[in-house]
Symmetry: C2
Amino acid sequence: MGRAVGRLCASPARGRARRRRVARGGGPAVSRAAAATHLWVDGRPADLALLSTLQTNYGHLSTMQVRGGAVQGFERHVSRLQSANLALFGRALPAARIRSELAAALQAAAIDDATLRVSVGAPDVAAVERGDAVEVVLLVALSPPRTAPTTPQRLQSCRCVRPLAHLKHLATLPLLHARRVARAAGFDDALLVDAADQVTEGALWNIGFVDADGGIVWPEGDALRGVTEGLLRAGLDAAGCAQRVASIPRSACSAFRSAFACNSSGLWPLASVDGRAFAGDPAVPDVLQAILAAVPWDPLGR
Amino acid sequence: MGRAVGRLCASPARGRARRRRVARGGGPAVSRAAAATHLWVDGRPADLALLSTLQTNYGHLSTMQVRGGAVQGFERHVSRLQSANLALFGRALPAARIRSELAAALQAAAIDDATLRVSVGAPDVAAVERGDAVEVVLLVALSPPRTAPTTPQRLQSCRCVRPLAHLKHLATLPLLHARRVARAAGFDDALLVDAADQVTEGALWNIGFVDADGGIVWPEGDALRGVTEGLLRAGLDAAGCAQRVASIPRSACSAFRSAFACNSSGLWPLASVDGRAFAGDPAVPDVLQAILAAVPWDPLGR
């Protein structure tokens, strides 16, 4: 990070072709998509007894888009689940287990395209409280596929600092509440700022800015560094494109040429913060679209 | 709050008699206690489809102890659920509905003594996100009765500020994590301090201090003002006992004569913060025990 060599650049062809290959050639002729939310544990429908023990909402998660049974940046999702598991449950979570349990859910549900949310919890609540290293359960929720918004989103800022912000944990209520409050006020989504009024992240996504020279600027601060942001940063680095990390006061947002949002649903343009539009037209830089399109889709069931 | 007239005083007899009456006379000859966690919705066991829609953990809760089918300070639990419902779902939650749904769960489960946790969520996740006023579901978890710890608890302080701290919402992970970290380090529980290093609350309970004169001191700051703390404050006021609210730096804790914890499980003594014991012996003031014992037990099924 922090290298700033050259201008933005693009070469999306290879990645797009790979995505088409997975979506068209890898799966069955007719893609089978999730139509409602279903919960799975190790390839079996979750049962009431288990869900009852998981009601304390102590755990972590990752959400990914599945197309043709494959996921972009899957190794990054695995790494995040593993580090969060150590932090919250004090125990290793083997990558092979994550992969096989997710694949088992997709196979049992006979689904190729979905939003897959895997949340990790521990049925032994008392052991969690004692501070023991505890055995976990992977609860897989399969729901309809999601895509990024297409219209530029108007943001309302919200003072909100998440405890343990570096972990993607289950205490998501403040994020959902910030989004709800923003939408009730006529905005599209919420932008979080910390106690010093610095931008940190979006409600359920990361934010990046584009400066006057076309360089990408990521906000400094306590935030979840998402899988898609990680893919974009790595791609910018590999391509030798300009990017940097900087402290961004809420009041300074509109001085940027534009800004964009990203999460597992993709990339989308941002229009304004608290009614103040960015200096240029809302758009996601082509280079970022190209980087994301070039990320391989990793088949889960292999 | 803030009136400081007279010294601590006690007159527990009436309340104790009332509690015995409810526990012995109000219910059946043999009390039936919850033995594991069961989930109920409006007097029926919760089903998988509903639990699947509530997986976003957006909602609020209250936890109470049920003895002989009755709860202390039930009206305060109702008020809290009602104000949280307006804040999170934009809709009134009638008191009569809360009472009847809780009673229906106890009756269907044939249980008199339990820990009752009612969590309120909305199956229509999209409507929540849009910012609409939304219809809610009351999910009642019945688990074994709990009592307060009897040994003085050794606390480890933890820097943690909850977003929307005034609401008892479902984002409880930071609290459970603070407790887990404290226990793994050999302490009994976690004490939360804010960004300015001021004491706010315990992991899942409120804290009060006792000064050299025997007066009660409640910490100022962003915290959930619990039902039991509210009952104690009202009781101290009614009895004309000394209490005040003050900013309490983490480093100043051990200067107090003692400190106590309270939640729906009751009252219990605290021994130390970060290994530094309080100036006097750990004990809960008799006046507080008396006030809590005098609080009527409200039968839910009436």
